[in-house]
Symmetry: D3
Subunit: 249 residues, 6 copies
Amino acid sequence: MQLHQSSWIEVDAYLKTSKGIVVPIGSTEQHGPNGLLGTDALCPEVIAKRAGDEAGFLVGPTFNVGQAQHHLGFAGTISLRPSTMIAAIYDWTASLHRHGFEKIYWFNGHGGNIATITAAFSEIYADVSLKRTGANAAPVRCTLRNWWELSGVGELCRELFPVGEGSHATASEVSVTYAAFPDAIKRVEMSPKIAPTGPILDADDYRRRFPDGRIGSDPSQATPEKGERIIAAAARALAADYERFLASA
Amino acid sequence: MQLHQSSWIEVDAYLKTSKGIVVPIGSTEQHGPNGLLGTDALCPEVIAKRAGDEAGFLVGPTFNVGQAQHHLGFAGTISLRPSTMIAAIYDWTASLHRHGFEKIYWFNGHGGNIATITAAFSEIYADVSLKRTGANAAPVRCTLRNWWELSGVGELCRELFPVGEGSHATASEVSVTYAAFPDAIKRVEMSPKIAPTGPILDADDYRRRFPDGRIGSDPSQATPEKGERIIAAAARALAADYERFLASA
Amino acid sequence: MQLHQSSWIEVDAYLKTSKGIVVPIGSTEQHGPNGLLGTDALCPEVIAKRAGDEAGFLVGPTFNVGQAQHHLGFAGTISLRPSTMIAAIYDWTASLHRHGFEKIYWFNGHGGNIATITAAFSEIYADVSLKRTGANAAPVRCTLRNWWELSGVGELCRELFPVGEGSHATASEVSVTYAAFPDAIKRVEMSPKIAPTGPILDADDYRRRFPDGRIGSDPSQATPEKGERIIAAAARALAADYERFLASA
Amino acid sequence: MQLHQSSWIEVDAYLKTSKGIVVPIGSTEQHGPNGLLGTDALCPEVIAKRAGDEAGFLVGPTFNVGQAQHHLGFAGTISLRPSTMIAAIYDWTASLHRHGFEKIYWFNGHGGNIATITAAFSEIYADVSLKRTGANAAPVRCTLRNWWELSGVGELCRELFPVGEGSHATASEVSVTYAAFPDAIKRVEMSPKIAPTGPILDADDYRRRFPDGRIGSDPSQATPEKGERIIAAAARALAADYERFLASA
Amino acid sequence: MQLHQSSWIEVDAYLKTSKGIVVPIGSTEQHGPNGLLGTDALCPEVIAKRAGDEAGFLVGPTFNVGQAQHHLGFAGTISLRPSTMIAAIYDWTASLHRHGFEKIYWFNGHGGNIATITAAFSEIYADVSLKRTGANAAPVRCTLRNWWELSGVGELCRELFPVGEGSHATASEVSVTYAAFPDAIKRVEMSPKIAPTGPILDADDYRRRFPDGRIGSDPSQATPEKGERIIAAAARALAADYERFLASA
Amino acid sequence: MQLHQSSWIEVDAYLKTSKGIVVPIGSTEQHGPNGLLGTDALCPEVIAKRAGDEAGFLVGPTFNVGQAQHHLGFAGTISLRPSTMIAAIYDWTASLHRHGFEKIYWFNGHGGNIATITAAFSEIYADVSLKRTGANAAPVRCTLRNWWELSGVGELCRELFPVGEGSHATASEVSVTYAAFPDAIKRVEMSPKIAPTGPILDADDYRRRFPDGRIGSDPSQATPEKGERIIAAAARALAADYERFLASA
C-alpha cells in the first residue's frame, strides 16, 4: 500500500490497524558512468514497494533529494545542506505524528544521509526531551535502516559480485535500478575496471580522487537479473525487520 | 529525458545543448474521498514526463512534499513549513546552478505552493541583488507554472467537466492520476455531490468547512479517458511554454 | 484610532469591543523618477488612517520595509529577505494574538510582498495545524488585501488614468502620496513617456529592463487632487471590506 | 531630507555628497497610562527629522517594532524576538551598503533594543571578520546612539523633571510625543504618583512588578512645551554627534 | 562543587537544597603579546571555582567560546556569530531549567559577550512572554555579571595598576591567569608601553588600530601575586552577589 | 601546546610550522552513579593534552557541551540541539580556517555526537561544494576520531575490563577521569552490577530503560591506575593517528 496512491480515507482506516509507516529516503547524485542519478532514491523505493505490496504495510512517498554535497562536482547531483534536511525530516515526521503514526521506519539508500538523518532524529527527540516528563501524547519513534545492511542482503551482494562491488556506484545498486528500469540500462566502458578508493571531503576534492564518480566498484557487471535477486531478498528482509521494529518497545 | 534515470555523463552532454530544466513540484495531501494523496505531485510529474519524452527536454526529480498545512486534518497529508520549503528550493536551485543550469522551470501541481515557491525565488535572487553589480557568474532564472493554467488546459477541463470541476480535489486532477495509475482508481459515493466552497485557514478550520476534503468539486466524474486527454493537451502546452521560457531574455 | 498613538489602557478597552486590527504593510523601494521611496508603505498607511478615523477601527503601526530585492539596483531601496520577513510577520502576529486580537487584516501596498505575506500566514497556521485538535485557545485569522484591489478602486484608477497607469510607480500610487505629502511633489521629465513592461527577476536584470525604475507607467500625470479622490474611495472600500472580514466565520 | 519621501534619483545624488545615513529605531510597547504605544519609535523619528531638516542630512525610515518581550503583558505591545531583529537589521544594513552607504547611525529610542542592536552589529561585522583580509569593498560602519544620552539631553530632562523622570514611560519621552502629537495628549490619574522600580524579566513578572507599566516615573508631569524644548536640544546634539561619526575613521 | 566533576545523583541532591547555578562564560580570543587566548574564559572559571569551593554552591561547565568577531585578525581567536551564541545559550538554559534550575547566574569574562548574552535572555523570556499568563511551570531567571564589576574588584584592580590597566588585555586579567597558570607566564617586550585606545569595529579595522591586540593597557605589569589578590577578592564578592541573586524575587 | 594557554603570537609562530590542530569535543551528561557529568569532555581533553605535550602539537579549547538530548532525564545534563551544534562547529571551523588552519582533527568523547559532527562537516563542505571550482583559498579538512577507537585502545579497555565495560558510563571512561581528577572519585553501590542494554530514543524513554543512567556497564570497577594506563596508550595512539591525518592528501 503506497501512501501517495491512497486516499486519506484509506490511510485513516490503515491507522486503525497499525501506527507504523516505511518512508524511503535517498539522494539524487551521480552514480558513475553507467549508474542512474536517482539510484539511491530508487533502490529503497523499489524494495519498499515490493515489500509493502507483499506484506501489506504502508509505504510513504520517497524523500528523494538528500545530503550529497560531495557529489556536486558531477552534473545532475542535487543536494540539501544538512540543516535544510534536518528541517525537512522534522516536518515530515511532525506531519505523520499528527495523524497518529508513532513508528516511522526511514528506509535509506545513501550512506551520505546517515549522519544527517540520525541528527534529525535527535532534533525531533530533543523537543520532547527538553520538556519535563508527563506529556500525555504518545511519543514518536524513528529508526533508520540502510537497505544494503538488511539481514542477508550484504552477503548476497558479495556473492553476486565477489570482485568490484565497491562502496559508491556499486554493482549491486546499479543492478537494482536496472531490474526496475530496464529502459535505463547503460553500457559504458570504464577504466580502470575497478575504481580507486579514498576519503570523502568536498566536491572538488572528490572529483580529483574519483574522476568518473565511482568508488572501489566495477558496476559494468550490473545486470537486471542480479538486481531482481537483490530486490527479492531485500524485500523479504525488510518486511521481517520492519515487523521487529513495530513489535519493539 | 529524466534526470533521475540519466547518468551524470548524459546530463553533462545535455548541458552542452541546453541550460534549462523542468522540475515538477507538488504536494502530498488529501484529495477527497476518491483522490490520491499524491495527486499534486503526480500530475506535474506525469505531464512533464510525457512532454519531456516527446520534446526531448530534461525533467528533474519531483519535489513531492510541499506546503500543505491546511490539509493536516486529514490522514496522510505531509507538509513542509514555508521556511523549510524555501530552504529546500534554495538548495535544489543552487545545486542545479552549480552545474550550469541557468533556466529552471518549476512545474507546479498545488495552488498552496505558489506563494512559498515565489518567495523562494525572491530569497534566491536576493543573494545576488544584495551584492553590487559586476559578478561574473551567469545568473539563474526561475519561473513557476501551474499545469492547470497552461494554454488551453483550463478550457479543456471546464469542457470535460462543465459542472463540479471545483478547486480542490478537482475532477480533472483526479482524472489525470486515474489515467496514469489505473490500479489506484477508487469508486466512492460522495455527499453532497458538489462540495462546498470557502476560505482556507488552518487545518482544524479546513476540516470543519470541508468535511470530506473536497472544495467545490465533484470528482466522482473522474475517468482515466478524460485524464488522458488532459495529459496529452497539457504536455503539448508545456513544451511550447517551456520553449518560450528558454527563449526569453 | 491608531495603535501607536494610543495607550495600552485604550487598546485594552478597544479589545472589549473588537478582536480585529488593520495593519498597513508596504515596502521602501524606488518608485521611478518622481515617486517616493516610501510609496508602498505610505499608501496603505494613509488610506488605513483615513478609514480608521472615519469608521472607528484600530490601525496598527506600519510594517514599512518589505520584500523588494528586485529594486535594490536603485539607491534608497531597503529589502528584507523573505525568510526574515516571514519571521517578522510571525512575531507581530504572535504579539497581537497574545493580547486577544483574533482577526488581523494586513493592508498591503506592494505587489512584491504578496507571496511572502501569504507564506507567512501558512507558517503561522502550520504551528497550529501540526498539533492535534483540541487546543483551547481561540485561533488567529490573518487576511491580506491590496489597496488597489479594493472594490471600485481599480476602476477609479483606470478612469483617472486611462493611459499610463502601469504596474510599478503607477500614476495612482504617486498621486496618493502627493495628496498626503504635497511638500514631496517632484516634477521630473521622463522618457519614454510610458515605461516598458517585462518580467521581474533580480536587481541587475531589473535595472537593465527598466532604466528609470518604472514599469508600464507614466506617473508624470500624478496630481494631489486625483490622489485625494483615490484615498477617499479606498478608505470607504476598506471600511466595508474590513467589516466583512470581521463578520466572516 | 527623509529617505521615504525622496526619490531614488535624489538619494543617488545625496550619495555623491555623503556616505552616511541616520536610521531611527524604536519599539511599539506600552508606555504607562498616559504614554503612547509608539513612544520609543516616535521620539527618535521626531528628533531625527528635526535635525535632518536643519542640518541637511538623510534620515531613513523608522524601524518601529523592536525587542519588547517584557512589555507583552500590556495590550498593544508588539515585539520581535532578538533573532528576528538581528536578521532584519542585517538586511536593512546590507541593502543600504549595497547602494554605497558606509556609515549607518542607528538612532535609538528604546533601552530594551540596545543589546540586540549591538549583537546585530557583531553579526554584520562577523561576515567580514571571518574572511581573510583583502576584500576590496569598502566596509560598512554602524553606530548606535540613544537619544536620551546625547550631549546635554539627559541634563535637560533632569532639569525639567527633577522628580519622577524615571526609567520607563519617562516624563521626558511622553513630553516629546505630546509636543509632536498634541491630539494624542492623555490626562490620566496615576497612583502611586511615582511608579516603583525593579528588575526586568519576562512579561508576566513585569506586569506583577509594574502594574500600570511605568518604572520609576511620574509622566503626569509631561507637557508639550517641555517636549518641544527636549526636541530642540536633542536635534542640535544629534547633528553634532552625527557629524563626529561621519568624521571618524 | 563543580557540575562537570559531579554525578547526576549529586546534582539531584543539590537541587533539593538550591535551584541556582553559576555558569562561567567567556571567550577564546587574543589578549595581546603576553596574554593567554583563553583569558576571558579562564578568569570567570577560576574565580567561580574558588567561590564555589568556599561557599558551597554549584558551578557549571565553562561556556568557553563567545562573541569575538573583532579579534579574528589575530591567530587563535575563535568566535561564534551572535545568532549561534543565542541558540547555544538558549539550549544550555533550557537544559538546566528542565532539571529544575530556576536561577542561572552567568558569570562573564568578556565585554564583547554582554550584548549577545543579554539578547539571549530576551530570546529565552520571549518564549514565555508571547504566551498568555497561566503556565504552571516555574519560570527561569537569568542574570549576567562581569567579574570586573563585582563590588570592590574594579577598585582593587585600579589600586594594583594605577597606570595601564586598560580595557583589553588588561593588567588585571592577565594577572589572574598568571596566578592560576604560572607555567603559562610570558615575558614579552611591548611598545608602546601603553597601548592605544579607540572604537571596536570589524577584525581588519581592529588590527589596524591595535597592532599587537591590546587596548589601552600595559599588561607587562601582570604578576601572579597580584592575580591571586584579585581572585581572592573577586571570589568573595561573587559569593555575596550570587547570594543576593538567589534571595531576589 | 594548548591554544587557550598560548598567546596569539605563539599561535602565529606555530602556524608557520603546521596547519593542523586537535580540538577535543565532548558532552556534559550523566554518566551513571559514580561517573562525572563532564566525562565525555574530560576524556578527550586529558588525552589530547597528554599527547600534545608529548608530541608538540597544538590542542584547541574543549567543545564541552554536545548532543545529549537522551540524557536530559538526569540532573546536570546539558545538551545542544543538533541544529545549534552544527552552527557552532561551523563557526569554530570558520574561525580557525581564517587564521590558516587547514586540518582540523576533532577528537571526540561522546558517541551521541558522531552524527551531528559528521553532518556539520557536510554543512561546512557544502559551502564550497555549491560553488564552482576555482576558488583560490586552500580548503579546510575536518576529521573525526573517537578516543576509544584509536589503535589499540579498545583492546586495552577490554583487557582491563573483560566484563562490564559496557557502552555508556563505561568502566574505562570513568577510570580515565579518576586518573585525571582523583578528588572526584566516587564510591557508589550499583544494582544490578551490570546495567541493561537497549536502544536510545528520547529522554523519558531512556530513563525508563536505564534507571541509573548506565548502559551495559559496571563502572564500579573503575580505578585511577587503569585510567592512567588508558590515557598513556591513547595519547600515543592519538599522536600517531594525527600524524597520519596531517600527512594525508
